[in-house]
């Protein structure tokens, strides 16, 4: 199914993003938010890597740090052989053109004073692609591809429905022919009936252009639907990374198990499994020692409280960070 051997498009190595926490008006240091704390994974060309986790796990921060929308604290990201974290000026701009973003809230991501046409053309203008007439034609084509009509060209973002605004966001992301698209909760703000339309559009575009996606979302049913592989994050770390079917059929990490058990099921009579994880994630300012999940873990044992488990291959080759599988 997937073009095998095409290799890694993106390599993420030990990426760290910490925020200094400021207290009071004069901003004295009051600790550090360890939003992303040593995350490594690869993304293969043409695949969709799902990135799931609950709020505060660092999945959105990670997405933004990869392309330096946020300055990284540490680590390395290599995109098609190019070290993104060390690039400067025109080289960085060139890479950024090949990696685009689709955000959760297109209303906040789209300039309200620009027409839809200008929004989609903006990237082409910045990167000096084509003549005015060529850009105009390009935008018209993009509108058609994402299911917007010519009548929408002159409209402003507030005149669009939620689903249409997300289509606009997708058109803008595609204008520069990216290879990797980072989708950050792209349909979370949409109603179910409209969600499916946008998901279908993303799948169609992926097929048409051989796009690679990093799909960040909290909805595990949706991530299952779109992903080839799935990484589960908890408190700034990846705790499990596996092929989609393996992960959903037999989650290994107790946190992955808890997440999947909590998903509401549609099957008649198919009641959700009894939940066995209590409490809520602690603050990323002071993560617990040892395994970060140990205070909530039903399978905790002594070692978990002392030693931080590394993300290592388990028996079937998937990656899991849990002492149970060492």
């Amino acid at each position: 199914m997937r073009p095998e051997g095409a290799g890694a498009l993106l390599e993420v190595r030990q990426v760290v993003k910490h925020y200094p926490l400021r207290a009071g008006f004069f901003g004295r240091g009051a600790g550090t938010v360890q939003a992303v704390d040593g995350v490594s994974f690869t993304v293969r060309r043409g695949e969709t890597l799902g990135l799931v986790g609950e709020s505060g796990c660092g999945k959105s921060t990670l997405g933004r740090t990869l392309v330096r929308l946020l300055e990284p604290t540490g680590g390395e990201v290599v995109f098609d052989g190019l070290p993104i974290f060390s690039l400067k000026g025109p080289d960085l701009r060139a890479v950024r053109r090949r990696i685009q973003f689709i955000f959760q809230d297109p209303a906040a991501a789209l300039d309200p004073r620009m027409t839809a046409e200008a929004i989609v053309a903006e990237g082409l203008v910045i990167h000096r692609i084509g003549t005015t007439a060529e850009r105009r034609e390009k935008v018209r084509q993009l509108f058609e591809q994402v299911g917007l009509g010519a009548i929408h060209l002159r409209r402003y973002p507030h005149e669009f429905s939620g689903g249409q605004r997300q289509r606009l966001g997708i058109a803008r992301a595609l204008a520069l022919h990216p290879e990797l698209v980072i989708c950050d909760e792209p349909v979370s703000a949409l109603d179910v009936s409209v969600q499916a339309q946008v998901v279908n559009l993303l799948l169609d575009l992926q097929r048409a252009y051989g796009l690679t996606y990093i799909f960040i979302a909290h909805d595990l049913r949706l991530v299952h639907h779109v992903s080839d592989r799935v990484a589960v994050m908890y408190l700034g770390r990846i705790v499990e990374l596996a092929d989609r079917d393996a992960l959903y059929r037999e989650p290994l990490h107790p946190y992955t198990q808890a997440l999947l058990a909590a998903v509401p099921r549609l099957e008649p009579g198919g009641t959700r499994l009894k939940l066995f994880v209590e409490g809520e994630p602690p603050s990323p300012v002071s993560p617990p020692p040892g395994c970060r999940f140990h205070p909530r873990c039903p399978k905790v044992f002594d070692r978990c409280r002392r030693q931080d488990p590394a993300l290592k291959p388990a028996a079937d080759g998937r990656l899991v960070a849990c002492h149970l599988y060492e």
């Binding site: 998901v199 909590a262 099921r265 008649p268 809520e280």
Partner: protein, 355 residues
């Protein structure tokens, strides 16, 4: 359930909202909503956002009110307690009979206040908007108890701690002394539930109480409410956009679209065999989390209609794959769709009803 508009308020012999004996039609129902209509004034003119909604809730029954944004589900809930912001919204018709004896819509505000919070409580999606940031959690719960039951300061305080324990908040004595911002999202929603249940209400209206929460915390709150429901023999009207959320919990589901209940019935039957094309399409549009993946979802074309410009016929007709000529002419009435079920769809006319 009375599907069609019943007699208007004035015809039922009401005195101060109290019904004459035998006036209530839903025998034994704790809450009976009959032909509720709420209008919202918009720049484009009045919009009927709740359009002839009728349903009943039995004592101890859990009912899910499911709909997308703009379906009118929240305004239906707010209308029950007359909490709709007026203006711009206004309840223009209907009867809401509580406990077989009072019509909440005809009750003087003072008497309604006794019912609100005591017999019928409500929790919302974002607890921070309903909690007072400058009072401790314990003080707020105690205040409700003193207000509704005239309890003394000490007794009210003790009840607050007891309620926090009831909603499984660890170390309730300490938590009672904390302020809302010191609690996590899940803890805040538990504190809201403690406050809502402090006066032992018979009906809890829950408006998307878990939507802002993470999935593991959401599951904890659903499990907690399941336990509390049995413990208190509570009736619950749970408003949600997620058809799957109440699977195995709600006895019945009401599906709303563009201000009307388009389908209702036992939850398990509806999820297995939806009768309205909208319910069926919604169920197909949700990824199940067990398919082959990367397949196209069955999307519903178009968007929810603007409540100010509803089509003259069935509001779902413009998006419906099974639309017929008559769907455009007039909105279908609720039609029988199996035991305890009905749906507003002309597809149910003919052989099925003749049988």
């Amino acid at each position: 359930m009375a599907g069609e508009p019943g007699p208007r308020v004035s015809a039922t012999g009401l005195r101060d909202g109290r019904l004459a004996a035998g006036a209530a039609t839903g025998v034994g129902a704790l809450l009976e909503v009959d032909n509720l209509q709420t209008v919202l004034s918009t720049p484009a003119g009045p919009a009927r956002v709740v359009d002839g909604v009728s349903f009943a809730i039995q004592p101890g029954e859990v009912v899910g009110l499911v709909g997308e944004s703009g379906s009118g589900k929240t305004l239906t809930a707010l209308s029950i307690l007359r909490l709709v912001p007026t203006p711009p919204a206004r309840i223009v018709a209907g009867r809401i009979v509580f406990n077989g004896e009072v019509d909440l819509l005809a009750l003087p505000e003072g008497s309604l206040r006794h019912i609100r919070g005591r017999s019928i409580a409500m929790v919302f999606q974002e607890p921070m908007t309903s909690l007072n940031p400058v009072l401790t959690v314990g003080e707020q719960i105690a205040e409700v108890v003193r207000l509704h039951e005239g309890a003394g300061r000490r007794a009210a305080k003790a009840r607050a701690v007891e309620m926090l324990r009831h909603v499984r908040i660890p170390d309730p004595e300490r938590r009672a002394r904390e302020y809302p911002h010191q609690l996590s999202g899940g803890m805040r929603q538990r504190a809201m539930l403690a406050m809502a249940l402090a006066c032992r209400p018979r009906l809890l209206i829950a408006d998307e109480p878990t939507t802002a929460l993470d999935v593991t915390v959401q599951a904890q709150i659903v499990d907690l409410l399941r336990e509390l429901q049995a413990e208190f023999n509570l009736s619950i009207l749970w408003i949600t956009h997620d058809l799957a959320l109440l699977n195995g919990f709600a006895a019945r589901l009401l599906v709303m679209y563009a201000g009307r209940i388009v389908e209702e019935g036992p939850a398990a039957d509806m999820l297995r065999d939806p009768q309205h094309p909208y319910t069926a399409a919604l169920l197909r549009a949700i990824p199940r989390g067990n398919g082959r993946g990367r397949e196209r979802l069955e999307a519903i074309p178009g968007t929810v209609p603007d409540p100010g410009a509803l089509p003259p016929g069935c509001a779902f007709a413009p998006r419906c794959a099974r639309v017929m000529d008559r769907c455009h002419a007039a909105p279908p009435p609720p039609l029988a769709a199996g035991p305890g079920r009905q749906a507003r769809c002309y597809l149910l006319e003919g052989p099925r009803t003749a049988a």
